[in-house]
Symmetry: C2
Subunit: 201 residues, 2 copies
C-alpha cells in the first residue's frame, strides 16, 4: 500500500486559505482528508466536537504533548492547539492524503518531524490587497489589522522554507494550482521507489 | 521576467515517451517548447533541418562540444547528438518552458550542469508490457528487443535520480499527470522568491 501524503497549508490571516482548503476538501479527487486539531479551549456555539476541533482539558493536552503524541502544538490566547500524531499517521498508512491548516511555526515543526510533508504557502496578491480583505471582513479594528499585517511580514519571511507558494488572487485558479501540486506530488520519484523496484524484477 | 523551466523527459525505449511529448506540445497550456537537438548524422528522407534536428558536420559538432556550447551530448551509431545550450537558455530567459527528450545519461548531465532542471522519467506498467510494445511495433528483431530490455533495466536503476516518475499505462492519464507536474513546478517556492520579496516591501 502506497503511503498517503501530508500537505500542510499556511498563509497570512486574510489570505483566504480557509476558503481554499474548504474547496479542496469538497471534491475527493485527491483522496484528501482534513486533520482535526485538538484544543483545550471551550467549545463555542455552532462548533461540533470531533468536527471543528477535538476538545480536551488543558491537563490532558499537556499530557499528550509531553508524551510526544502531538505532531506540533502551540498556545494562542491561553489555550492549547495541536495536531494529534496518531490520527494523521493512521490516515497516511491507509494511503489517504492529509491536509493540515496551521501557522508557519507549526508547519516548520511538522517538516522537521516529518521530512516527507509538503508545505504550501498561500499568499495574497499584495499587502494592500491583504489590508483591504482584512478591513472588508470587519472582524478586526485598525490596531488588530496592523498586527495582522506585521504577522504577515513575519510569515512571508519564512515562505522560502516552504515547498510551494501559491497566490490567492482568483480563488478558482488558486484551488486549481493546489490540485495540480497535490497530483504532481504523487509522482515524486522518492514516493515511487517500490514501483520501480518491482519493475526491475 | 520569471525564468522558464527546463523539463527533461526520459524513459526506456518503447515506453511511448515520444507520443507523450507530442501530446504535451500539441496544447500550449504550459508554455512549452521542444528543444531541437543538433546531430552530425546525415539528414534522412522526411526529416526537416531545424525541425527534426539541426544538422551539422562532425567537425563543427566537436568544436561546439569542446567549446562548451552543448548542455549534453553523446555518440550513437558513430554520430554525435547533443543539446545546444544557447537556444535552451534563450527560451528560459524569455520565460518559456523547454522540453528535452533525452536518455538517462544525458538527463543526468543536464541536471549536473543545471540543477534547476526538472527530470521526469516515464516507465511502462511492467517489463512484460514493454516487451509486448516493442514486439508489436515490429522495428526490432528478438536480439534487439532483448538489448532494449537490458537497457531499460539500466535506465530503471537510475530512476531514483529523477524528480518524478510517471507510468504510461493509459496515454491520456499519463499526459494529464505530466501536465500537473509542469503546472505544479511553477509554484515551487525557490522559483517564487522574487514575488515574496516584492510582497514584503
Amino acid at each position: 500500500m502506497k503511503q498517503g501524503i501530508l500537505f500542510v497549508m499556511s498563509g497570512p490571516s486574510g489570505t483566504g486559505k480557509g476558503t481554499v482548503c474548504a474547496e479542496l476538501l469538497k471534491n475527493k479527487d485527491n483522496n484528501l482528508f482534513l486533520s482535526i486539531s485538538t484544543t483545550s479551549r471551550n467549545i463555542r456555539a455552532g462548533e461540533i466536537d470531533g468536527v471543528t476541533y477535538n476538545y480536551t482539558t488543558p491537563e490532558k493536552f499537556r499530557e499528550m504533548a509531553e508524551s510526544g503524541c502531538m505532531l506540533e502544538w502551540a498556545v494562542y490566547g491561553g489555550n492549547y492547539y495541536g495536531t494529534p500524531k496518531k490520527s494523521v499517521l493512521e490516515r497516511l498508512d491507509r494511503g489517504e492524503n492529509v491536509l493540515l491548516e496551521i501557522d508557519v511555526q507549526g508547519a516548520l515543526k511538522v517538516k522537521k518531524a516529518f521530512d516527507d510533508a509538503v508545505l504550501i504557502f498561500i499568499v495574497p496578491p499584495s499587502t494592500e490587497e491583504l489590508r483591504r480583505r482584512l478591513e472588508s471582513r470587519g472582524r478586526e479594528n485598525e490596531d488588530q489589522i496592523n498586527e495582522r499585517i506585521k504577522a504577515a511580514e513575519f510569515e512571508l519571511d519564512n515562505a522560502d522554507k516552504y515547498d510551494y507558494i501559491a497566490v490567492n488572487d482568483d480563488l478558482a485558479s488558486c484551488v486549481e494550482s493546489i490540485r495540480a501540486i497535490m497530483k504532481a506530488e504523487q509522482f515524486r520519484a522518492r514516493r515511487n521507489t517500490e514501483f520501480t523496484e518491482r519493475l526491475k524484477k
